[in-house]
């Protein structure tokens, strides 16, 4: 009996040890009366019972921190230096990142690789910089001021009912993801002291078949604009991707032969699902030049060639008015679907289209400007352009043909157009896409698996099987 009792004690102790004792600590550095300590009275909203602006801000941070904390196994506290204070202009919501990076410290699994300090602490099983913070997060308190962002401000509810406001909970989840390691020790594609960050050794160029740590700086400079082919190479993400991503939507052009190909399509957050395949002839829609739509192909007013568009798939240009407006005009003209052509060539990725409209029943997709030009050339030559909008079975959206989840890699190089995000064609949208989309649920989807790939672990109690979208 004594032996059995000792066994129970050992098992309980072991379980406790495995669960990890580390917590995510929100270190409020704001001065009295400001930021997290703002005493302005507010009404409780969306499950946030704070009665002051400062308390509601803090409650959101605590809830987001708890979400991550319940998924990460560490014995070392993670100190998040948090602040709500003025930042430049209203267009800057906030910033975040690891406070420091570590290389060749205690117990790091790989030599000569930079790790964010919170992860380095986990491996060392001690705080490598006692008393110093691990992650810095600061948000712009001016966003809540009248006229800063027109009528938009932060939403402090915890129920995802932000409407036209900014869901702070999702934004904090995203920023903490960066702080925990979805980041780099140097601006991409550079290396700090010629050593890769732990994310760099999972950054894979599917064209070259090489990871970034296997490339020269010159190769990485090319790789960072290799749109659609720069991806995350990690077992955890690859195994989990099918639980979070659906089949991609494509525009299959059957005729004329000169442009017959499969084009990547961007999705709208409104309109009919592309699960239902539609096929038809494409017609370039035209409308009057108006102040709300200064070109004849922007689809911003009622189509002047509605009879030609009826029963077909309308093609219009992006720009000036909302995607919803264009789709409404197409539907009113009797189109069975609408293709919106991007008006910028900087990304080479068909844009995802936000908006909401329960009255829209036709599918809405986008294509890149280059692909739009190909189709328009044929249409202007009176060729019959026949297309099908459908899902592509056997593949996942936002992945390479080889099955790697793509990283955000716009084709125009701008220093810091951050590859530390998933690519925008991923559907449903993911937490760590660069645009932090408004349709996100309050989960951490693939990001937790990305963190597992770089060395974090999950406590047994969280159970990976429950992590679904």
């Amino acid at each position: 009996m004594l032996r059995r009792a000792l066994l129970i004690l050992i098992v309980l102790s072991a379980a406790q040890a495995f669960a990890g004792t580390g917590k995510i600590l929100i270190i409020n550095i704001d001065a009295a009366g400001t930021g997290f300590n703002d005493p302005t009275p507010v009404a409780p909203a969306g499950g946030n019972n704070g009665t002051t602006l400062g308390q509601q801000r803090l409650n959101v941070f605590l809830a987001a921190a708890e979400k991550w904390q319940n998924l990460l196994d560490t014995n070392v506290d993670i100190r998040v230096q948090a602040s709500f204070a003025p930042i430049s202009d209203c267009n800057v919501l906030g910033f975040a990142g690891p406070v420091s990076w570590k290389v060749n410290t205690d117990s790091l699994p790989l030599p000569n690789v930079w790790y964010p300090v919170a992860l380095a602490n986990k491996f060392a099983n001690r705080d490598l910089e006692p008393g110093l913070d691990d992650i810095q997060v600061r948000f712009n308190s001016d966003v809540d001021k009248d006229k800063c962002l027109a009528d938009t401000s932060f939403y402090y509810g915890l129920d995802g009912s932000e409407g036209s406001n900014i869901d702070l909970f999702v934004v904090v989840l995203h920023e903490l993801g960066h702080g925990l390691g979805v980041s780099g020790a140097a601006g991409a594609p550079g290396f700090r002291d010629n050593l890769p960050s732990v994310t760099d050794i999972h950054t894979y160029d599917a064209t070259l078949g090489l990871r970034w740590n296997q490339m020269s700086q010159e190769q990485r400079l090319v790789s960072v604009t290799n749109t659609g082919h720069l991806a995350w190479d990690g077992t955890e993400v690859r195994n989990a991707a099918g639980r979070f991503l659906q089949a991609p939507t494509i525009l299959d052009v059957a005729a004329p032969p000169a442009v017959a190909a499969t084009y990547e399509a961007g999705l709208a957050s409104f309109g009919a699902s592309t699960e239902n395949t539609i096929s038809g002839r494409v017609t370039l829609a035209t409308d009057a030049e108006t102040p709300d739509g200064p070109t004849t192909t922007d689809g911003c007013s009622a189509f002047s060639n509605a009879s030609a568009v009826a029963g077909r798939i309308a093609l219009v240009d992006r720009g000036t008015c909302t995607f919803v407006t264009k789709a409404r005009n197409a539907q009113a003209a009797g189109a069975i679907g609408i293709v919106i052509v991007d008006n910028t060539r900087k990304d080479c990725i068909p844009p995802a289209m936000g908006g909401a409209a329960s009255d829209l029943t036709i599918p809405v997709v986008s294509i890149t400007a280059d692909n739009g030009d190909r189709l328009k050339t044929q249409l202007n030559a009176n060729a019959s352009v026949e297309v099908t909008v459908r899902r592509q079975p056997g593949q996942l959206s936002g992945t390479t043909p080889e099955g790697f989840v793509r990283l955000f890699t716009p084709c125009t190089f701008v220093v810091g157009s951050s590859i530390h995000h998933w690519d925008t064609p991923a559907s449903p949208n993911l937490l760590m896409e660069p645009s932090v989309n408004s349709d996100l649920l309050h989960g951490v989807d693939l990001t937790i698996y990305q963190l597992l790939d770089i060395g974090w672990s999950m406590p047994p109690r969280s159970g990976r099987r429950i992590l679904k979208k």
Partner: protein, 101 residues
């Protein structure tokens, strides 16, 4: 004797479990505010590299525009160039409400 040892061991085990449970409940700490009022930071300064840290810190910055439908459009970037590109690109997502005001 074995029974006493058994009881003692089980009590210790229960105490350990209870400690673990209470530890889980205490999921976060908050320190008292210690800072002076924070200085306003400008966009370029967010990405400036100090002499001691020429590589920066891998900071990610969220910038926002308001779309024609009145909803925010966000972009997470890690350089001033990328931030300005997003903010200056003439897309349909310009602030109609701001313009009206």
């Amino acid at each position: 004797m074995p029974r006493r040892v058994f009881i003692a061991v089980m009590l210790a085990a229960l105490a350990a479990t209870a400690a673990s449970a209470s530890d889980e409940a205490c999921t976060r700490d908050i320190l008292k505010p210690v800072g002076a009022p924070a200085q306003r930071v400008i966009l370029d300064a967010l990405f400036e590299k100090s002499a001691a840290d020429v590589y920066g810190r891998g900071i990610e910055v969220l910038v926002v525009r308001i779309g024609l439908d009145g909803k925010p459009v966000l972009a997470c970037v890690d350089s001033a160039e990328a931030a300005k590109r997003f903010l200056e690109t003439p897309i349909e997502n310009v602030a109609r409400k701001a313009r009206e005001k």
